[in-house]
Symmetry: C2
Subunit: 474 residues, 2 copies
């Protein structure tokens, strides 16, 4: 074996809970659970347990609480801040919810689905669609992320503009507390003010306050028509103007508004197989717009055309392509969703997931680009994201040709520059990806002592022995 | 004086904080603060303090915490569960936020308003409208309720169908904790996952965890057109079918869907000056529909007509009137909003603010009506409310001619019948009005011990000395 401190008896007891087939201890077997997607964190674990029921999750946490064993909950392992992988000590066990993957119930009349934590987001979307309904959470990792993780991180994505983040899409939760007690909160109610709304505690707490095992999700009427356009613009200011016009013209029917810079588009066309620039000429900035109609595709097209015609006449946009088919619409969206992935082909990338008040996005991008390039000449900012939510992924690719490691060594320095501007503008350093381990030190800098103290009080109130995801968030 | 235990020195110290003009101790002056709208609770207080700033609120709570003085926060005093009035002991002081009534900021570009807790809801609506925007919270008491109370109770109302309850309309909060510490959380961000979302704790906690002093509210693009209809139906089943059709036809543009029974309409036309039945013939049930369009009034009318025509053809509705003018639309809404008030003209009324999964509303109404009339022959159920949210105000007016007090003496018995059915259907006994004092005993019956324990842990974590609104909620 190796030098990782292990406890044979603990493993045996865990094995009795989940069955020998569902506890992994071999280094090769546990390896995929120990590294996160960007490989910023590579940990070790004495065991990965894969419970098959809420009862088993409860037994695991009871045992962990008794033996002071730290537990790291993991869903799809797509999180970007290191909350879901074990640390380097090997002491932490990984509790994977991957086997909790049943859709327990789908009530088309009531517009609700009860899904277990391990159900993959895309399966939730598909099951809703099969019932003639719609689940709006949509993000790049939807083919592998699991709904429990989406809830634990209050995932945002591109649908948040019209439908809200994950917090707004959850009606009820089933949660195993760090003590092993099970909170049965799978309520299907749109309004319920009977005491404190306990589910709010667990949504977005990144697995530090409880392990979500199942959820009641809100389903929506499926739009009868969608129209998608890709517009070329001169600047983020123009994009903000276009956003306002489109929002005024379409109201809640504006279901998508994403922006990206020319650099981002070039990365996608260079590295994403089959991706093409939808417009004939290059433009400094692009916006992807989606309008959904409850009535018809014709209606969606009409709303979108109205918004674009007005913007063309006002000179807000330089050019635009409206998707002529579902396939073309999917291609436009593929450009946007591909952005997260293609950056790794351009060498090192220093990431920021930030938000500012919507009206300040152009100012933020201008200031951040200028400051970053001043600090790292040749660096290539790739800002993109959810303009309507004030949420920009301000990623910075290395200057071509320089040493990747040397560039990445400046991660904290570049972070400090960008987050300093965010702080001055009243923004957030963790808009939708959370804090995890990556930003835990930063949290202490941007939150006042009273706030950190309140968070610690909540943590202590729910996890008195501090066994659940310790060292993450707070 | 009287036999209420008072502390001269406490009053003096409070007076020094807020100024002599802003502390009330005379029985006549404090009386309006001691009784709630339905006069179910009539309390006493040693003093009502009206702080003029967040700093003064903090000083009051610091003093109260030091001297173990219980404090009851009060906003517009329109709550219906007794959370906002002092108890009968006279020990509790009332902290009114009425003087915190500034709109600190309105950012039309960013779609946010910073309002202090004492701003009356109607003023929030008006200020948004003046800026060409829209604040969707809408309820009967909007002319006197104050936004701090709306947040503390997570108010719902008729706009919740499309825009969500108050929880969904708040971006940030400023809160004074029971210890007198001020949490500065007035963030204007649509996405912010930097640590636990502390504001969620205070929203809906009915003044038991902190005193909200200001909030950042979300403003929306004002619809360019609205259309309102009043439809006559045979039954709640038909209303549910109409709701589904309208929702499918209009999607998020369906911004109102309320139901009421014939009894409710008769109460309104009998007691609300100027109110008339919008339809020529009587119907057992009615639905009020509102459709809003981002584009135009013509578009809103078209969507509404489409939905109604389909429903008439399918035999779902018997008749319908579409408001021909803004004035007529206001009259339709006045019928709905008048319902809460007119019941008192019909003698005693036993109230229930309940929710069930939307698809179960017809079954709930049928079962509850039958059970209540069996228990109290001649009693007149007046169910009405927010069908799309599964939220029914199942109020029961006394049989005509019987003694009001004798009828009201059966409050708990009738509650038990209705809430028993609600519990069987997985519903909530407190859908939008909260728990307060009225339902505190019931909460213990409908929530499991673990849930109550979790609520108590939160209460202790935030209010270790239990000075803030003790005996309410938990």
């Amino acid at each position: 074996m190796n030098d990782i401190p292990t406890s044979e008896s603990l493993r045996e007891r865990l094995g009795r809970i989940v069955g020998a087939r569902h506890i992994l201890t071999d280094p090769d077997d546990v390896a995929p659970y120990c590294v996160e997607p960007r490989e910023l964190y590579r940990g070790a674990t004495q065991a990965v347990v894969l419970p098959g029921s809420t009862k088993e999750v409860a037994a695991i946490l009871r045992l962990a609480n008794e033996t002071a064993t730290p537990v790291v909950p993991q869903a799809g392992n797509t999180g970007l801040v290191g909350a879901q992988v074990p640390d380097e000590t090997g002491r932490e066990i990984v509790l994977s919810v991957a086997r909790l993957d049943r859709i327990r119930d789908l009530d088309a009349d009531g517009g609700t689905m009860v899904a277990e934590a391990g159900v993959i987001l895309e399966r939730v979307q598909e099951a809703a669609a099969e019932a003639g309904l719609f689940f709006p959470l949509s993000l790049g990792a939807q083919g592998s992320c699991r709904i429990g993780g989406n809830i634990a991180t209050n995932a945002g994505g591109t649908g948040a503009l019209a439908y809200g983040s994950m917090r707004e899409l959850v009606l009820g939760l089933e949660v195993v507390l760090p003590t092993g007690e099970v909170w049965h909160g799978l309520r299907r109610l749109k309004k319920d003010n009977a005491g404190y709304d306990l589910k709010q505690l667990f949504i977005g707490s990144e697995g530090t306050l409880g392990v979500i095992t199942a959820a009641v999700l809100k389903l929506f009427a499926a739009p009868r028509g969608r129209a998608v356009a890709f517009a070329g613009l001169a600047s983020p200011q123009a994009a903000l103007k276009l956003f306002r016009g489109a929002r005024a013209a379409a109201g809640p029917a504006l279901t998508g508004f994403e922006i990206l810079s020319r650099t981002g588009l070039e990365f996608v066309t260079a590295h994403l197989p089959g991706a093409r620039d939808p417009l004939a000429e290059p433009h400094p900035w692009y916006a992807l717009l989606e309008v959904s109609s409850a009535r018809s595709e014709v209606d969606a097209q009409a709303m979108l055309e109205e918004a674009l015609t007005a913007a063309l006449e006002a000179g807000t946009i330089a050019d635009a392509a409206i998707a002529a088919s579902l396939d073309q619409a999917a291609q436009f969206w593929r450009i946007r969703h591909g952005l997260a992935e293609v950056q790794r082909h351009e060498g090192g990338s220093i990431k920021h997931d930030v938000s500012v008040p919507v009206a300040l996005i152009p100012e933020f991008i201008a200031r951040a680009e200028e400051a970053v390039i001043r600090a790292v000449p040749g660096a290539r900012p790739v800002p993109f994201g959810h303009m309507g939510d004030g949420n920009i992924h301000f990623n910075v690719s290395q200057p071509p040709g320089v040493d990747k490691a040397a560039f990445l060594a400046r991660w904290e320095e570049v972070n400090a520059i960008v987050h300093g501007i965010v702080a001055e503008m009243g923004g957030s350093i963790a808009a939708e990806h959370g804090i995890g381990r990556l930003k835990r030190g930063l949290l202490a800098e941007v939150r006042r002592p009273l706030e950190l103290d309140l968070m610690r009080r909540l943590k202590r109130a729910l996890d008195p022995n501090g066994i659940l995801n310790p060292g993450r968030v707070i």
